[in-house]
Amino acid sequence: MGRLSWRLGEVVGSIAETPSVRSLVLAVPGWERHLAGQHVDVRLTAEDGYQAQRSYSIASAPEEPTLMLTIERLPDGEVSPYLVDELQAGDRLELRGPIGGYFTWQVDQGGPLLLVAGGSGVVPLMAMIRHRTAARATVPTRLLFSSRTLEDVIYRDELERLAGRDRSLEVFHTLTRRQPEGWTGFRRRIDQALLQEVAWPSTPNPLAFICGPTRMVENVATALAAIGYEPARIKTERFGPTGGSS
């Protein structure tokens, strides 16, 4: 297989998803079809030649003509503030990909599918949901999505719309920090009891994808294994620090 070469995409649109998260819509000439769940490497170059690289999950379905990246501005970030606040339509962005052959899902892999997201961990899972919709698949799918507040829920309207017209897609929200008045969803961090309420039972052998901060992913993966999910069918992707010095 040939080297994944760097190429230039052009920003053709952007969407403010939440106060700290923006989606960039890119036209990338010659883009090869990706798999839902894959990521790209992004490279920024300053005038003096200094470069910084990061990886970002792809948010768009493989079926879409443009590529969407959804980026959260990290308070201490070097690349994410540029992508969220600086980049404008007409700007170009250097990237290569698609990358990753494990945390991916195609409709023929079937389900039932359990997707568990924390914050911007929803991005690769959204690519799976969009792929599922684009392929008109009816694989029974549940998304359990943990956000801090209602304003922090990424893709909220689209998820509501998709679940509203597709009975085989269910979306459950939990808001861990603050809930609006009259909130009927969950209001705590995802724990085993919550999973037992929301997740598919362990038969018939569901397929789980978990993406979010390390602590959340660690807890959810352990809880699903305890419920009886087959460890080889619990796929995880994590970001962020461990919260300790090690």
């Binding site: 910084a52 990061r54 352990t222 080889a232 994590r238 090690s246």
Partner: protein
């Protein structure tokens, strides 16, 4: 490609005090220790844990946890580089050199396949695993290695991207013919030398 491309308005934050000669291309230094695993963290009780060396060897070996823990240990301070772009400098470990483990086995093959709890595998040419370049580590920062970082014991091969430092290692298989492991069959480079930026297939 286009070596002259400039990201409009990007200045970068070059505040790192790290010696640039220690940072491979495309990497940046982080203060914390991110966790990356493909699945749930296995929790094998120490009384059930063992370590096996087998395959193309004159004398297969097996150590219980207690036997392994009493093998000659080394203090290791190394920089580590993850393919997801972070590097961490001067990490401190304690472990057993792969040389110490292979010596009584007397391997005749040319490659090492590490097998781990949870089904993860990774492959190394024997010359990348021997000669004081690789260990099985069981302490980090003067503490027992935490399960999410690969405890009770993980491979430590700091001169290659960190996915080669397989967590939860249990068995070292010596083989004649190379066999790509878990990430190596999922798009990642077969050798993974960060200084050559060997991240993905074809790099």
């Amino acid at each position: 490609m286009n070596a002259r491309f400039i990201s409009r308005g990007f200045k970068g934050r070059r505040t790192t005090a790290a010696d640039p000669s220690r940072i491979p291309p495309g990497q940046h230094v982080v203060p914390d220790f991110p966790v990356l695993s493909a699945g749930p963290t296995p929790h094998t009780p120490l009384e059930q844990w063992d370590l096996i060396v087998e395959g193309q060897v004159a004398s297969p070996q097996r150590w219980t946890w207690e036997e392994f823990y009493n093998l000659p240990r080394e203090d290791i301070t190394v920089d580590i580089h993850c393919v997801t772009k972070w590097s961490k400098l001067d990490t401190r470990w304690e472990g057993v050199s792969i040389d110490t483990l292979l010596e009584p086995a007397d391997p005749s093959g040319s490659f090492l396949i590490a097998h781990c709890d949870g089904g993860y595998t990774t492959n190394l040419p024997l010359e990348d695993a021997t000669g004081g370049k690789a260990w099985i580590a069981y302490r980090y920062n003067d503490e027992p290695l935490e399960p999410e970082h690969g405890g009770p014991a993980r491979l430590l091969v700091p001169h290659l991207y960190f996915w080669k430092s397989a967590k939860w290692v249990r068995r070292l298989e010596i083989v004649d013919a190379d066999e790509p492991g878990f990430w190596e069959t999922a798009g990642y480079h077969n050798r993974g030398n960060p200084w050559q930026e060997e991240r993905y297939w074809g790099d």
